[in-house]
């Protein structure tokens, strides 16, 4: 069965050419992938893609480019045992509180 990422040749609408400037957090996600794959060598580009292709269609459609990467990298780091889901969930809460406090 064709997966949701396999869309070449399907009908589609006009290409939205609006310029989008990446935020610092998105550039850091890019940096993390390069460091984890080339320097720490704990994941590969193919694994990043596998992670993106198993995000589920809703998340895949909702997230922009580096959002997809962030979720894929997080899932891979948990799967490989570098971090636990519990640690990640707790840290997400802490970061959220910190960000909201600084608004």
């Amino acid at each position: 069965m064709k997966s949701y990422h396999d869309i070449g040749g399907e009908p589609g609408g006009e290409v939205d050419q609006t310029h989008y400037e990446y935020s610092l957090w998105e550039l850091r996600v890019d940096a993390m992938l390069r460091l984890l794959s080339s320097k720490a060598k704990v994941m590969t580009i193919d694994e990043l893609r596998r992670g993106i292709e198993t995000l589920g269609e809703d998340r895949y459609d909702k997230e922009r480019y580096y959002g997809k990467w962030a979720y894929s990298i997080a899932a891979l780091m948990v799967e490989k045992g570098h971090i636990t889901q519990n640690e990640l969930d707790q840290r997400i809460e802490q970061v959220r509180e910190r960000m909201e406090a600084s608004l």
Binding site: H5, D6, I7, G8, G9, E10, P11, G12, E14, V15, D16, Q17, T18, H19, Y20, Y22, S23, L24, W25, E26, L27, R28, V29, D30, A31, M32, R34, L35, L36, S38, K39, A40, V42, I45, D46, R49, I52, R64, Y65, Y66, G67, A70, Y71, I73, A74, M77, H82, I83, E87, L88, R91, I92, Q94, V95, R96, R98, M99, E100, S102, L103
Partner: protein, 206 residues
């Protein structure tokens, strides 16, 4: 001593509530620094290095190929080594440069994801990763090109290259007429990212 690198530098927020993915990515960055997989400084340096990878690198390569036939043949036979010759190290990544001619126009897409010569040109434009571009470019390239203001004669063959993580492409556009005595530097200004992907041609001299 991973904890020495713990970094709570202020987080830039454009406006309103941060996106979920932004929160997740910051949590991930902090945890992976603490686990010693990289340092905060590594991330900063990597971001800075990536900012030097721009379509201007591709434009410089194209301008050199336009003015130096020997370089052009090296470029078409071995993209990564020709890039390195110009000072652009793209590591182990593969790069196939495809040449536009009066009879053939090349255009690049990645239907399955968003593969692109990022280590040479920096992150791709947002539209390159859009679903509509990925869906349509393989079966109606002329219609897609028209949206970018590029109309090709029916007699011209259009070749669409579908990229993978193992093979990434860059287009060598045709040199515009009326630029015979131009310097490489000036020629490079005629080449933008659209021309390197092949949704447009190089700009004509004004």
């Amino acid at each position: 001593m991973p904890h020495d690198h713990h970094d709570h530098s202020p987080i830039e927020i454009d406006e309103g509530m941060p996106e979920e993915a932004q929160v997740l990515s910051e949590a991930l960055r902090e945890l992976l620094i603490e686990k010693g997989l990289f340092t905060a400084d590594d991330v900063t340096k990597q971001v800075a290095a990536m900012s030097k990878r721009t379509p201007g690198n591709g434009a410089a390569i194209v301008a050199r190929a336009w003015t130096d036939p020997d370089y052009k043949s090296r470029l078409l036979s071995n993209g990564p080594s020709a890039a390195k010759e110009m000072g652009f190290d793209i590591g182990a990544a593969q790069l196939l440069v495809v040449e536009n001619t009066p009879d053939v126009h090349n255009v690049i897409v990645c239907t399955l994801c968003s593969c692109y010569p990022v280590l040479l040109l920096g992150p791709s434009p947002e539209w390159y990763k859009s679903k509509n571009y990925r869906k349509r470019t393989v079966n109606e390239p002329r219609a897609v090109l028209k949206e970018f203001g590029t109309e090709l004669p029916d007699s011209m063959e259009v070749r669409v290259h579908d990229s993978t993580a193992d093979m990434r492409y860059m287009v060598l556009p045709e040199r515009p007429q009326g630029t015979e005595d131009w310097t490489e530097e000036k020629l490079a200004e005629l080449v933008n990212v659209d021309a390197l992907i092949g949704v447009s041609t190089a700009n004509s001299p004004v």
